[in-house]
């Protein structure tokens, strides 16, 4: 039976050799390698739930009067976009489940990408020959951020409107061409004309998903062509040349499929049991309305933090506003982060002069400088992100907003540096401890029964078995 199917396919496509290779492709085993897979499967859930939502959602700002199941909005004037999102939430059976699952999936999607990026960064997985895979991954992250922003902005509830207003302010703030850019996107000064809604919709349901799908395919194709990187294998093989892993089939496939279903399960359970973005409580958006405690989805928290941290000035030269304030936090800051992330592998190559290909991952302590700089950079972004919630901190803990603002304005520059130094020291200490332990083991192995005075160890030169300190042997063959 199997044989007949395979024969049929192979005689018509010649796929058998490729298929055989694919089935025996080895996946190295480590939990942290699953983070990227979680992102992939969250994307699958996003596409599936998203398609369902398009069957009901109406991307239009045309006015309508609400007459549906939700009493408090009865008779209220609102856009068709908002009305249809309310309709999905209350009148479409299973509509709210799918809508909430979609929203949760978006949050998890970005979270998984970020964790995956952190893992890849601190283990040096981006090194040659995987720089392009990494570059595409970074682009995927930023595409996903924009996609998420468009998604929750389309609904036209009060919070989406406030988010779009900020987006408009940020677009206007691009030096020289901001006004032209914003008018090109919105078609008319904010809140824009009907074209804008068509644009946002098609961008969210077609352009960006296709872009993400394309980047994802390229990302995975590159991973497969260079094979996974791996942590140093325990077996006595050269990890740079031999990959140790579970084959796609039968080992990896059921587990990976299981992970996909588990991700879907968690998202559906969240979607069903944990409320997210109850748009009926926010009400429809009007330019004249705003609310306190407005927060974006988590993945834009770093941008709201950056916008809020800026002191109040526009850069003005001869009455021309060269750099409007939102530019710093809304464009320069994320661009800086993106450029730094993209440039890092090449910067590292330049400074370490290490242009050899690497298949074996490093532990954070194996590359103390990278780990220190990475930790500092991460702390910088995380602190700015944290400040984005300062108004909530004020509400819950009572620390005055102004105090927090001044604290963070100073601390975001000091804490990352301090953390970097501490992390660097920590890496060195860990390495030193390891070297001492290794020497001890080597000493014990070479001369176990010989009686030695307590506390004294044979020097390395005497043991013979242990490599001289600092030799390449000692660095690469650590088992």
């Amino acid at each position: 039976m199997i044989r007949r199917l395979v024969t049929f396919v192979d005689e018509r496509s010649g796929a058998a050799p490729l298929l055989r290779k694919t089935l025996r492709y080895a996946f190295p085993d480590h939990w942290s390698f699953l983070l990227g897979e979680v992102a992939l499967y969250a994307f699958v859930v996003l596409v599936a739930t998203g398609i369902y939502l398009t069957l009901f959602f109406e991307p239009s700002t045309a006015k309508t009067v609400y007459h549906g199941a939700y009493e408090p909005l009865q008779g209220m004037e609102m856009s068709k976009a908002y009305a249809s999102a309310i309709h999905i939430s209350f009148d479409v059976k299973a509509g709210l489940l799918i809508r909430q699952t979609h929203h949760w999936a978006a949050d998890v999607f970005v979270a998984a990408i970020v964790l995956h990026l952190i893992r890849v960064f601190f283990t040096g997985a981006y090194r040659k020959p995987r720089e392009l895979t990494y570059l595409i991954g970074v682009l995927l992250l930023f595409t996903a951020l924009l996609e998420g922003y468009l998604g929750y902005s389309m609904v036209d509830d009060l919070l989406s409107g406030m988010g779009l207003a900020i987006g408009y302010g940020v677009a206007l703030s691009v030096p020289f061409v901001g006004a032209n850019l914003a008018l090109a996107i919105w078609g008319h000064p904010f809140p824009g004309n009907a074209d804008f809604w068509s644009r946002m919709y098609i961008a969210h349901v077609l352009i960006f998903p296709v872009l993400i799908g394309g980047l994802l395919t390229a990302h995975l194709a590159l991973v497969a062509s260079r094979h996974h990187s791996q942590f140093r294998p325990r077996r006595k093989v050269n990890g740079e040349r031999k990959l140790i892993g579970v084959p796609t089939f039968p080992g990896q496939a059921p587990r990976s499929l299981g992970l996909m279903l588990a991700v879907a399960a968690v998202l559906v359970l969240l979607g069903g049991l944990v409320q997210i973005n109850p748009i009926w409580l926010w009400g429809p958006y009007h330019v004249s309305q705003g609310t306190n405690g407005a927060q974006p989805d988590w993945y834009l928290g770093w941008l709201i933090g950056a916008l809020r941290l800026m002191p109040h000035f526009d850069v003005v030269v001869w009455n021309r506003t060269l750099v409007p304030n939102p530019f710093w936090g809304g464009i320069l800051f994320p661009m800086l982060v993106m450029v730094a992330l993209i440039a890092w592998p090449w910067l590292e190559q330049r400074f370490t002069r290490d242009r050899r290909p690497h298949n074996v991952l490093q532990r954070p302590r194996d590359a103390p400088v990278r780990t220190a700089i990475g930790s500092g950079f991460l702390a910088w972004v995380v602190m700015i992100f944290t400040f984005g919630a300062a108004d909530r901190v004020y509400v819950f803990l009572g620390i005055p907003y102004e105090t927090q603002l001044w604290f963070f304005r100073v601390a975001i520059w000091i804490v990352p540096v301090l953390l970097g130094v501490v992390v660097y020291r920590l890496c060195l200490a860990l390495r030193e401890k390891e070297e001492v332990e290794r020497d001890q083991q080597a000493a014990v192995r070479s001369a176990p029964p010989s009686p030695r005075p307590e506390g004294s160890f044979p020097r390395r030169a005497e043991t013979g078995a242990a490599p001289p300190p600092g030799s390449s042997e000692g660095r690469t063959r650590r088992r």
Binding site: Y168, G169, L183, A184, I185, P191, V246, L257, G272, N325
Partner: protein, 329 residues
């Protein structure tokens, strides 16, 4: 019993011998492993549980239970989680998870690289005027690219930024509330803030909504040319924050004047804080420009009307925002 087993074994050997001629035995590719009958039962149980959840989902959906979202989520999520568990147990216990050794691909194949380079180089060997052709091709590419990009200008009034200075306000226009009722000066009390719209104009224009507050006339410290912009101490400002276009939806007003800070208008998005007493200057937060003020007057009926145009254009900053006043045309 014993005999039966022996017979079976004999039959099996016979069968093997018979089968040997048809299909030659090949070396195993997938490593052999021991059977795990308990794990098989676990997988079956998990699959049954998944089926039960899925069927329950159908029932809940068909009967339209109350708390539908929660039940649907629970059933579907349950089905998925049992399926996931079944697959993972299956993957860990019922198939061999041997560790393979696989060669990493070589980092590049120099021979092929040289061949590619050679093909490209030799393909152009017939060409004598490389720079001329290159220049012409570059020109064609540039011109064609420009032609392709040009229609993007139709997206919006890209070069005409006039609309960004628009304001529906002009001298004499009445201020109305949400229901279209004109605001009377007497409606405006201290320690509260009010939203006003232009009468008979689109309220969804950025420059349309106003925020109004009343302060003690003695507390005002407006610039000299705005001395008569706040009759009876009633002040009107654009409700749109000049930082990033959010609505100024907060009004901080002291309950105990000696100890608490003076009244301020606050944007909830990034906490830009404006002082209404001195013409909307930025006191705190990221806004780079002051809040545009609209001069007011009180007509004979006691209604509030605009007495002129905003002090500066409304909305977030851009290149030309400081170059001119807003206009209502």
């Amino acid at each position: 019993m014993k005999i039966g087993r022996k017979t079976l074994a004999a039959l099996g050997v016979l069968g093997l011998l018979a089968g040997k001629g048809k299909r030659p035995r090949r070396e195993r590719i997938v490593a052999a492993g021991d059977p795990d009958r308990r794990a098989e039962l676990v997988v079956v149980a998990l699959l049954l549980a998944a089926s039960a959840c899925a069927l329950m989902f159908l029932v809940v959906y068909a009967l339209d239970w109350s708390n539908l979202t929660q039940w649907l989520g629970l059933c579907l999520g349950g089905a998925l989680i049992f399926l996931a568990a079944a697959l993972i147990v299956f993957g860990q216990r019922l198939v061999v998870t041997e560790q393979l050794e696989e060669d990493y691909p070589e980092a590049g194949e120099p021979e092929e690289q040289i061949a590619v380079e050679q093909i490209v180089r030799e393909s152009g060997s017939k060409i004598t005027r490389k720079r001329l052709l290159g220049g012409a091709a570059g020109l064609a590419g540039g011109a064609f690219g420009a032609a392709l990009i040009a229609p993007a200008a139709s997206l919006g009034p890209v070069l005409d930024t006039e609309s960004l200075y628009y304001s529906p306000w002009h001298r004499g226009r009445r201020l109305v509330d949400e229901d279209g009722k004109p605001w009377s000066a007497d409606d405006i009390e201290e320690e509260a803030f009010y939203t006003a719209y232009p009468e008979d104009a689109d309220r969804e224009e950025l420059a349309a909504p106003l925020v109004m507050v009343r302060l003690q006339p003695a507390a005002l410290d407006l610039p000299a040319e705005r001395k008569d912009w706040a009759p009876e101490g009633i002040l009107a400002y654009s409700k749109i924050c000049p930082h990033a276009a959010c609505a100024i939806a907060l009004y901080r007003t002291p309950r105990f004047e000696e100890a608490e800070p003076a009244p301020a208008l606050v944007c909830p998005c990034h906490y830009s804080t404006f002082n209404p007493a001195d013409g909307g200057t930025v006191e705190f937060g990221p806004a780079g420009r002051n809040l545009p003020q609209l001069p007011l007057m009180i007509d004979d009926a006691g209604h509030l009307r605009a007495a002129g145009q905003f002090s500066e254009p409304v909305g977030p900053s851009f290149w030309g925002i400081r170059t001119r006043r807003p206009s209502s045309s």
